[in-house]
């Protein structure tokens, strides 16, 4: 090989390696100091310089305290029309200038803004530090500044007219194009996406505020991730912010010369659309950190955050947060919303575990409202709702539209729609601060709940009761299938969720109040747990209140209805006022968890027993029944039930319009098993009948069925919780696909893992073998007879061709002639 060629190849290799290594080891420099952020500024001196010797100034140097005590702003004017003035206000203009911000007067730029204007409007190219060295590199040639930090401006801001309007407000129609990582936008994304968002001349984000009135009061803003990502990336790609009502946007304040460099900390104190869009800069790091509207949330308005892009000219579907809306229910214009609705929606063709889609849309809704007066952003009640609805409403914007629930319709849409799951949370005894409502106990609180709602699993998830912290009262149902309604209970005088299945109120570190509806639409059981042990219980059954204290049983008669009032969640000012009045009129007069006091509000007991206990309370079709355990020496007072002559022991007490009491007999079970179509490898079942001849119920027992094959180990068929009422029959079908044919033995047992298991018996069942699977079956299924014959003939033919070819061409003896002599190296 030629030495020159070798040398060139070696050089290429060395350069490639050197490039890779240098790229890999380039250090990221730390910030040089913690500079104060956006302090108000004053000018100490103004100096003009003539850079091109034409006798006219091209550069204005403003020294003073803008961010630190010693800062400098250099304004370069390549158009040669900088006025001869020592008033800095005359020198700062935005038509065509380059502003170099030297915060700390270190001789290096922390930010460079190149302003220009023309037919298309006003443009600002904003440069910050890209390589982590804490400043923006540039070179000056005369009055021209060329930024060498990067080839592409990290931020371009465009305006159709002057940056400031005549009314002193910021231009309301602005577009921001972000190219490369800007901290606030960047933080939304995982590393795999961040790696794609580079400063390469192709904008990564687009942010636009729109003011149709041209008065400096934008009505909406839209942002978009412009980098195309695979559909499977579950990241936010677009968003819209909308302002409702008549509140005006303020003038830019505390800004650093250019009105887009606003006072971000002051802006943060308000709501979005309260203050104009801004560019926030971390001057210590010389980096742009936020772009757009600041402040959160809003008293009247909404925003949408979607994983789908917004495409102009179409009606776009949006998922994730569509919408998040805020309402001034109190109509007090105090800057604090009283209602927050967050609709987290998943669309039918969204990915729910690649490559499957969700198949049906579903929503997880947070509907939080503030009912009691407060100056802070607090919330008192929350409804969590989950359901499966198509969002069909359309909100139009200039150039595009979005499928969403329109702002004005959203509260009614939530309140009037039917939902599958619901939770209800009330804050008790403390204020709850948050910008997005009450987070505790969402309706779809667990992944299992989502699976159950989508019909993917059959087991309703256990609601995470234990996760409700102290100071919250919560109720839930996984089978609402109705409009969400609340009711005020005349028993505990609290607001409850209609059709709640159960609930919990952790009162303090020891006491917890538990609720149970006992299968009705209203809470029918209150039980107080002290350190996990039940201390008192109160039941509502028909016209009676049954209270169980420690050794005391009291029954009172009442005629109060199940609910003082049934209402929907407040959707407007009037409903909000009405609910407030209802709550104010019905405040509880007893301490939370004082079930005895709760019972006493209904007068004297019609039956009081000292030395007794009740258990197994359940509602029946026409009343209720329970097991009464009379202790030795018990004393009764009242004539509700004829207890004459009763001795200590257990009794079944029944109310079905009239009272009766009978001695209890323990459960007595008998079982029968009938096999259903049992064939090996095919789905079948065992029909199992449990008969209880005793009067006591069996509740929550674990029934375990096991099958033992003719040869091999037993296999468990099912383990299910069963309930067999006294003198009643329960039927079950146990699904079973036998893995072997022949005679099996099935065993059924109740509570096998407890100290007192109940064996229900052994049963012989016969499993038939499946159909034939031999070659004849294969042939019959795979092809027709004549083709089998043909295929066989072809197979034999080519086997013969192969064999013959080898015979003719294969191994030659040492004496045979080689016909290939002349075929090599022709």
């Amino acid at each position: 090989m030629q030495p020159l060629v070798v040398a060139v190849r070696a050089l290429i290799l060395v350069l490639a390696v050197a490039f890779s290594v240098s790229w890999a080891v380039t250090p990221v420099q730390a910030a040089d100091s913690n500079l104060p952020d956006n302090a108000h500024y004053h000018i100490r001196s103004v100096q003009l310089r003539d850079l091109d010797g034409d006798g006219r100034p091209d550069e204005a140097i403003l020294k003073g305290a803008f961010i630190t005590q010693n800062d400098e702003l250099d304004i370069y004017d390549s158009h040669n029309d900088l006025p001869q003035s020592d008033d800095w206000r005359d020198l700062v203009h935005f038509d065509h200038a380059t502003m170099v911000f030297d915060v700390g007067a270190t001789g290096s730029a922390k930010l460079i803004v190149q302003l220009s204007s023309g037919q298309g409007g006003y443009v600002a190219n904003v440069y910050d530090d890209r390589n982590g060295d804490g400043h923006v590199s540039y070179v000056r040639s005369g009055a021209s500044i060329r930024v060498t930090e990067t080839l592409h401006p990290p931020l371009i801001v465009k305006s159709p007219g002057p940056w400031l309007l005549r009314n002193g407000k910021l231009q309301g129609n602005l577009s921001f194009l972000v190219d490369g990582p800007i901290v606030s936008q960047y933080s939304l994304y995982p590393d795999a996406v961040k790696a794609l968002l580079t400063n390469d001349g192709n904008p990564d984000f687009y942010y636009r505020v729109v003011d149709p009135s041209d008065t400096g009061n934008p009505t909406y803003a839209i942002w978009q991730l412009m980098h195309s990502l695979p559909d499977t990336y579950a990241v936010l790609r677009s968003g819209v912010l909308g302002r409702e009502g008549t509140k005006q946007m303020s003038k830019p304040e505390g800004y650093l010369f250019w009105p887009l460099l606003g006072h971000s900390k002051r802006y943060d104190e308000g709501d979005y659309f309260d203050t104009p869009p801004t560019i926030e800069v971390d001057w210590a790091k010389a980096q742009i950190t936020r772009v757009g509207l600041l402040g959160y949330p809003i008293e009247r308005g909404y925003h949408i955050n979607s994983m789908r892009p917004i495409v102009n000219g179409t009606t776009n579907e949006a998922n994730f947060e569509n919408p998040m809306a805020y309402y001034d229910l109190a109509d007090n214009h105090d800057g604090r919303p009283e209602l927050h609705i967050r609709v987290q929606n998943t669309l039918a063709d969204d990915y729910c575990g690649y490559p499957e889609t969700c198949r049906r849309p579903f929503e997880d809704i947070r509907y939080s409202w503030k009912q009691y007066a407060s100056n802070a952003l607090t919330w008192d009640f929350k409804l969590g709702l989950a359901g499966r609805h198509d969002i069909t409403g359309v909100v139009s914007f200039p150039g595009f539209s979005i499928k969403t629930v329109p702002y004005a319709e959203l509260p009614t849409w939530v309140a009037q729609n039917s939902w599958d799951f619901a939770s209800f949370v009330a804050t008790e005894g403390h204020s709850y601060n948050s910008s997005e409502g009450i987070y505790e106990w969402p309706a779809l609180g667990t992944p299992e709940a989502g699976s159950y709602l989508r019909g993917l699993s059959t087991a309703p998830s256990v609601f995470p009761e234990s996760k409700l912290p102290m100071g919250f009262r919560g109720e839930y149902t996984l089978d609402l299938r109705d409009k969400p309604r609340l009711y005020l209970s005349p028993i505990d005088h609290n607001l409850h969720l209609l059709k709640a299945q159960a609930g919990v109120w952790p009162i303090d570190a020891h006491d917890t109040l538990c609720y149970d509806s006992l299968g009705t639409a209203f809470i029918s059981k209150w039980s107080l747990l002290e350190d996990g042990f039940e201390r008192a219980v109160l039941y509502r059954g028909g016209p009676y209140i049954v209270y169980q204290g420690e050794g005391d049983v009291e029954i009172r008669q009442t005629s109060v209805p199940a609910a003082v009032s049934i209402v929907g969640p407040p959707t407007n000012h009037q409903e909000w006022l009405d609910l407030g009045n209802l709550l104010a009129r019905n405040k509880p007069q007893f301490a939370p968890g004082d079930l005895a006091a709760m019972a006493r509000q209904f007068g004297q007991p019609v039956l009081a027993i000292r030395g007794a206990n009740i258990s197994g309370f359940r509602l029946t079709g026409s009343g209720f029944r329970f097991l009464l355990d009379l202790w030795p020496g018990f004393q009764e007072q009242g004539a509700l039930v004829d207890m004459k002559g009763l001795t200590s022991g257990q009794y079944i007490v029944t109310y079905d319009g009239r009272w009766s009491i009978q001695p209890a007999t323990p459960p007595s079970l008998s079982t029968t098993v009938v096999p259903q179509d049992l064939v090996q490898f095919r789905p079948g079942a065992l029909d199992l009948t449990l008969r209880n001849d005793g009067s006591e119920d069996i509740s929550g027992a674990q029934l375990v069925t096991t099958a033992t094959p003719p040869e091999g180990q037993p296999e468990q068929l099912a383990s299910v919780s069963v309930e067999v009422h006294g003198r009643d029959v329960t039927k079950l079908a146990i699904p079973w696909t036998p893995g072997a044919s022949g005679a099996w033995t099935v065993t059924a047992e109740l509570d096998p893992d407890t100290a007192a298991p109940i064996k229900l018996g052994h049963f012989d069942v016969n499993v038939a073998p499946p159909g034939p699977a031999g070659l004849n079956t294969v042939r019959a299924i795979t092809t027709s007879s004549w083709l089998t014959l043909l295929a066989g003939l072809v197979l034999a033919a080519f086997a013969t061709v192969g064999g013959t070819a080898f015979w003719q061409l294969g191994v030659r003896s040492s004496t045979s002639r080689n016909t290939d002599e002349d075929s090599s190296e022709r």
Binding site: R359, L453, F681, G771, I781, G802, G810, S814, D820, R826
Partner: protein, 525 residues
């Protein structure tokens, strides 16, 4: 030249027809065995790609699926479909299996070039088409049918150009045709082309090193290493031009592989992290414990015998300081080493367990292409002095048996395999009925993807947003197509049918049923 020798040459010149006839017979058998009702994963998605091509009439269709690694196969298919009016499914299921015989032609000329013998070439080509892994990728209807053919053509043109001492025009034509074929191969599948170039480059590097260590190995071929070097470099350039300028979707697959190691594996070894090949041996795929080994006997026979020959040649050339008899054999020896190294690296590179599938589907067929030439050359040279006729008879019988076994393996014969390619029209009708009457549902179609790929081959995508599933039923699957073939497989493999005893039968044509599971919750309705 004597008349006898001339006669011998004429006879030798017709030997190419033997592997072509043989391969045609295999193709016909495959089509006849299932009456054309066969479907397979890659073939099904390529049918989809062809349809998208046909519908859109552009290289990168705006609607439908796009094959990220190349467009050659779709383009050729579009041409054939447009010319003949064939339905893409008919082309894929009936025509392409028979057209697989085309590969035997470039294979034969390459082997003649490498072994220096028409007889050796014929033996090698016959051995090639009884390699079950190679046979499988050629019979099914994916890009490999053309990629492998072009691979043979490239190797032939390359090897032929080494031996040429003719005029510049002839050499130029060979080189020009080589790069044209190489570009066509890249257009077919850039990853497979990339790995092929890697193997050629390795062969070049090994040859260059060995010839410097052992000068007697220099065969006098014209600028062997320079040409191999330039061929590798230019082909690499063609791949990158294709990826970054001609067919941009080919960057997609590399883009989604996050690790550098993964990208290197994909480019150099054509091994991906995903085990999606339907030909992968799975537990219970064969009726008996040793069935797989018996059916793949041709692999092992060729593997072991080619290794023995390679070692023997290496021993002669490196230890005994003999010179290679022809340039072709020297190149063959080097290519064998390169493809073997590629196979070995694939095994080492694999950490995901996906190697079994990838090795069989990609690397082993490539290795087979070269190893059979070693065996062909070895058999040609072999002059046994003892019981020559008996050996000849034995080898011929063995070849016949191996041909049958390999064909059974390559066609997933249901008599011996539980991993089936066949389907029956009524099974497809049941799936189509289910798709027409359900919407946004998961529809289970069987223990393997047999009916889902049949559905894709026949029509493409669900019209009602249904998702056809197979294997273990996915969470939330409520509808199940169960056919007599599904029941047969259940019985043979001991897999219970995944439906409930009380499922609703909503469709039943006697041989196929659609079951709908009874809702157990309000949200399953």
């Amino acid at each position: 030249m004597s008349a006898e020798v001339k006669q011998g040459q004429r006879e030798d010149g017709r030997l190419w027809a033997v592997p072509v006839i043989f391969m045609t017979a295999v193709g016909l058998y495959f089509v006849a065995r299932y009456e054309g009702w066969w479907a397979e994963g890659d073939s099904a998605v390529f049918t989809m790609y062809i349809r998208a091509f046909l519908r859109d009439g552009s290289l990168i269709p705006t609607r439908g699926e796009i094959y990220p690694n190349g467009y050659g196969y779709q383009a050729i298919s579009l041409f054939v479909v447009s010319l003949t009016g064939l339905d893409p499914a008919a082309l894929q299921q009936l025509v392409y299996p028979v057209l697989a015989a085309l590969v035997a032609l470039p294979a034969w000329v390459l082997y003649r070039e490498l072994t220096g013998s028409a007889r050796g070439a014929t033996i090698a080509a016959l051995l090639l088409v009884i390699q079950p892994e190679f046979l499988f990728v050629m019979l099914r209807s994916s890009h490999e049918k053309f990629t492998r053919t072009l691979m043979f053509l490239c190797l032939y043109l390359l090897a032929r150009s080494f031996r040429t001492r003719g005029g510049l025009g002839f050499v130029g034509a060979l080189i020009g045709l080589f790069y044209l074929s190489a570009f066509a191969m890249v257009a077919d599948n850039n990853l497979l082309a990339h790995s092929f170039i890697f193997a050629v480059a390795v062969a070049m590097a090994a040859g260059w090193s060995l010839e410097r260590l052992f000068p007697h190995l220099r065969t006098g071929a014209v600028q062997l290493h320079q040409r191999l070097f330039h061929a590798s470099l230019v082909c690499l350039g063609l791949v990158w031009i294709s990826m970054f300028y001609v067919y941009l979707p080919s960057q997609t697959d590399l883009g989604v592989i996050q690790s550098i190691g993964g990208r290197v594996n994909a480019l150099v070894l054509d091994v991906s992290d995903e085990a999606t090949n339907s030909y992968a041996p799975v537990a219970g795929a064969w009726v008996g414990r040793y069935t797989y080994f018996v059916l793949t006997a041709a692999n092992w026979v060729v593997l072991l015998s080619s290794l023995a020959i390679w070692l023997r040649w290496g021993w002669d050339w490196l230890r005994n300081r003999k010179s290679p008899t022809t340039t072709g054999r020297w190149v063959l020896w080097l290519l064998y080493a390169a493809f073997a190294l590629q196979g070995a690296l694939s095994v080492v590179a694999d950490t995901s367990g996906a190697i079994a599938a990838n090795f069989q589907a990609r690397v082993f067929p490539s290795f087979s292409m070269i190893s059979v030439a070693m065996v062909g050359a070895g058999l040609t040279d072999w002059r046994p002095v003892w019981r020559g006729k008996a050996l000849r008879l034995g080898l011929s019988a063995l070849a016949a048996v191996l041909a049958v076994l390999s064909t059974l393996k390559a066609t997933d014969e249901p008599g011996v395999s539980n991993w089936w390619m066949f389907y029956r029209p009524y099974e497809l009708s049941a799936v189509e009925w289910a798709d027409a009457h359900l919407h946004d549902s998961n529809i289970w179609t069987g223990f393997t993807g047999r009916l889902t790929v049949a559905f894709t081959t026949a029509g493409g995508v669900s019209a009602n947003g249904n998702f056809l599933t197979a294997f273990a039923p996915k969470l939330g699957t409520g509808d199940f197509v169960v056919t007599d073939a599904t029941r047969l497989r259940s019985t043979r493999t001991g897999q219970p049918l995944p439906i409930d005893f009380d499922s609703f039968v909503v469709f039943d044509d006697g041989d196929a049923q659609l079951y709908h599971l009874r809702p157990r919750t309000p949200f399953q309705r």
